[in-house]
């Protein structure tokens, strides 16, 4: 099974590559220089720091969304949880009377907690009212984004600027996204790898993902698991949000976490990897790299940067279809 999934990935990448080449040729760009620009833009000496900075939110969100996915639950509300964590981190950063370092810690914790609580709400709605997670997470996402947008436009607005952004955080209430931020995301990813492979809860999650009914027979309480998995997911998303506002430019800018579609790229990476922990991290990093490389390709060859978004989606479509075929073949053999 492992081998077949690998082949599916190879097939999907090749398919996207062929299609991308056709599109590039169709728009009159030179495919070879475009692809090489993507690669140097992603991994070259000048491009790599950018890739790393882009990878922090994308990998973070991918891990966050992979956790419920592993249990067969889809959290579509990552954007709301991300933004809520970010705005909570901002409020704490702006109002904490503590020195800078404890304030940073508090902002990170607060962001994670806000995201966790908000996602737990969706779990509660499913457990108590039977509202599907897929819908509740998604619907909750929009009010959270509007709420944050309201806060930075009015109560927290930067008086000296006409942009919809909060005041800048005080001196020292900051962290390096590619330093501490990267480390935090790496720890989260590592924890996911270990828990998934070793801890009983990791086993419960996987078992539920493989067969919810079987897991229920085995005595796993689904409502409890849903709550824990969603809270973890939202907590990680909130943490990513807090990391991003504490990083440059040290403030909450309305839309800055939504427009680059970190959440959706992360979700696709998690889907691509079937929520396998290591696979999710690799896929998310790969997506971050080609997205960042896409900017370089645009600069060098005028190949529009949307092309990388198209390629990512095409990879997923090919892969989803290919794994479907593989599943079916296996079933046929049996």
């Amino acid at each position: 099974m492992r081998l077949s999934r690998r082949w599916a990935v190879v097939f999907a990448l090749l398919g996207a590559f062929v299609l991308g080449t056709l599109i590039l040729a169709g728009t009159g760009a030179d495919p070879i220089s475009a692809y090489s620009a993507i690669i140097t833009g992603a991994f070259g000496a000048d491009g790599f720091p950018g890739t790393l900075a882009y990878a922090v939110p994308v990998v973070g969100m991918a891990v966050a969304l992979a956790v419920p996915l592993r249990a067969g639950m889809v959290n579509l509300g990552g954007e709301g949880q991300l933004v809520l964590g970010a705005i909570t981190g901002t409020v704490i950063g702006l109002s904490s009377p503590l020195p800078a370092v404890p304030t940073v810690v508090l902002a990170l914790l607060g962001g994670a907690l806000a995201g966790a609580a908000y996602a737990a709400l969706a779990a509660f709605f499913e457990n108590k009212l039977g509202v599907p997670l897929l819908v509740s997470t998604l619907l909750l996402s929009y009010p959270a984004m509007s709420f944050a947008s309201y806060l930075v436009r009015f109560p927290l607005a930067d008086a000296g600027s006409s942009l919809p952004q909060s005041e800048q955080l005080p001196d020292g209430v900051a962290l390096e996204v590619t330093g501490t931020g990267l480390a935090l995301v790496a720890v989260a990813a590592l924890a996911y790898v270990v828990v998934d492979a070793r801890a009983p809860i990791g086993y419960e999650i996987r078992m539920t993902g493989l067969g919810a009914r079987f897991a229920a027979y085995a005595g796993i309480s689904r409502p409890r698991l849903t709550l824990r998995v969603l809270a973890t997911s939202g907590g990680l998303a909130g943490l990513v949000g807090a990391i991003m506002v504490l990083g440059f430019p040290h403030r909450f800018i309305d839309g800055a976490l939504i427009t680059p579609t970190y959440t959706w790229i992360g979700l696709l990476a998690a889907l691509l990897a079937g929520a396998n922990p290591l696979g999710t991290v690799i896929a998310a990093f790969f997506f971050a790299a080609i997205t960042n490389g896409g900017f370089e390709a645009e600069r060098v060859t005028q190949a529009p940067r949307e092309l990388t978004a198209v390629l990512q989606a095409v990879i997923i479509i090919f892969l989803a279809s290919a794994t479907g075929v593989l599943k079916r073949r296996k079933a046929g053999v049996r």
Binding site: S136, S146, R153, L271, A309, A313, I316, G324
Partner: protein, 284 residues
């Protein structure tokens, strides 16, 4: 009095794209296909509508282009899930992202612009009655037609049978794959009409990601309306009413962010009350 007519009118306008997409979702749901690609499929329709109208100078050819393009786009879901057995949720989410990337990409390569395209030369749909385009009324007709097809024809019986129990339907000689193909493609065409109304009826322009969550609201409307055409219509109206009232409250000084969030909150509350009501009934 005039004021209230204005509200009704804005509700009608807001509801139409959602209603078309929700009918598409309901149709797919009835055949057992969970389709959450409505957002992306509608967005493709928006772009095709604008491109079609721009290049032919005839907005109705834009509508035709939207229907064809969205139907073709939904083939991804049809082939991927029905023929190849891929997961419809994964495919749908990828399709939504692909639509954003693809339409932005085409906006740039076809119209040479980013963000949005509008031009005085771009022809929108002319209003026929009370200032609305024919598509606004067509959506209501579509509700009736779909209800008739689903509940009064053998085809509808087949589709509902597939949704209830695909295996049993197959044993009775129904070609499950073929019916699902048809349903997904028909759904794509409906999304195309929704996109056309959005881009050539409600406004006359294309802007990146202009569907802005309407396809997702349609997905919720399908659930709220339990995949029945009339139920879906009521759910979509509820959303449109929340949006219309929101605009009015904005005029009274409520911040825009609150009114932006209102339709989602109202939908969530409606979903709760529906679940509570159903639960009480089932325990009684």
């Amino acid at each position: 009095m005039n004021f209230d007519l204005a509200l009704l009118s804005s509700v009608l306008r807001a509801v139409t794209p959602i209603l078309f997409a929700a009918l598409a979702g309901a149709l797919c749901q009835r055949a057992g296909v969970f389709n959450i690609s409505l957002e992306g499929t509608m967005l493709v329709g928006c772009f095709a509508a604008v491109a079609g109208s721009w290049f032919t100078g005839n907005p109705w050819l834009g509508v035709v282009a939207a229907v064809l393009a969205s139907a073709a786009y939904s083939l991804i879901l049809a082939i991927g899930s029905v023929a190849l057995g891929g997961d419809p949720i994964v495919l749908s989410i990828a399709m939504n992202l692909l639509a954003v990337g693809l339409t932005s990409f085409l906006l740039r390569t076809v119209f040479g612009t980013t963000g949005s395209f509008s031009d005085p030369g771009l022809r929108g749909l002319d209003p026929v009655l009370f200032g609305h385009s024919p598509l606004v009324y067509a959506a209501w007709v579509a509700v009736a037609v779909l209800a008739f097809l689903l509940y009064r024809t053998t085809w509808g019986l087949k589709v509902r049978g597939i949704g209830e129990n695909a295996e049993a339907a197959a044993n009775l000689g129904v070609n499950v794959a073929r019916e699902r193909y048809r349903v997904i493609i028909a759904g794509g065409a409906l999304c195309g009409l929704g996109g056309a109304q959005l881009a050539l009826g409600n406004v006359t322009l294309f802007s990146e990601n202009m569907t802005a969550g309407r396809g997702w609201i349609a997905v919720v409307a399908v659930m709220l309306g339990m995949a029945a055409p009339v139920g879906v219509l009521l759910a979509a109206l509820l959303f449109g009413l929340a949006e219309g009232l929101g605009f009015r409250l904005q005029g009274l000084g409520l911040p825009q962010q609150a009114t932006d969030a209102a339709p989602y909150v109202v939908t969530l509350l409606a979903l709760f009350s529906q679940r509570l009501f159903r639960r009480e009934r089932s325990t009684a």
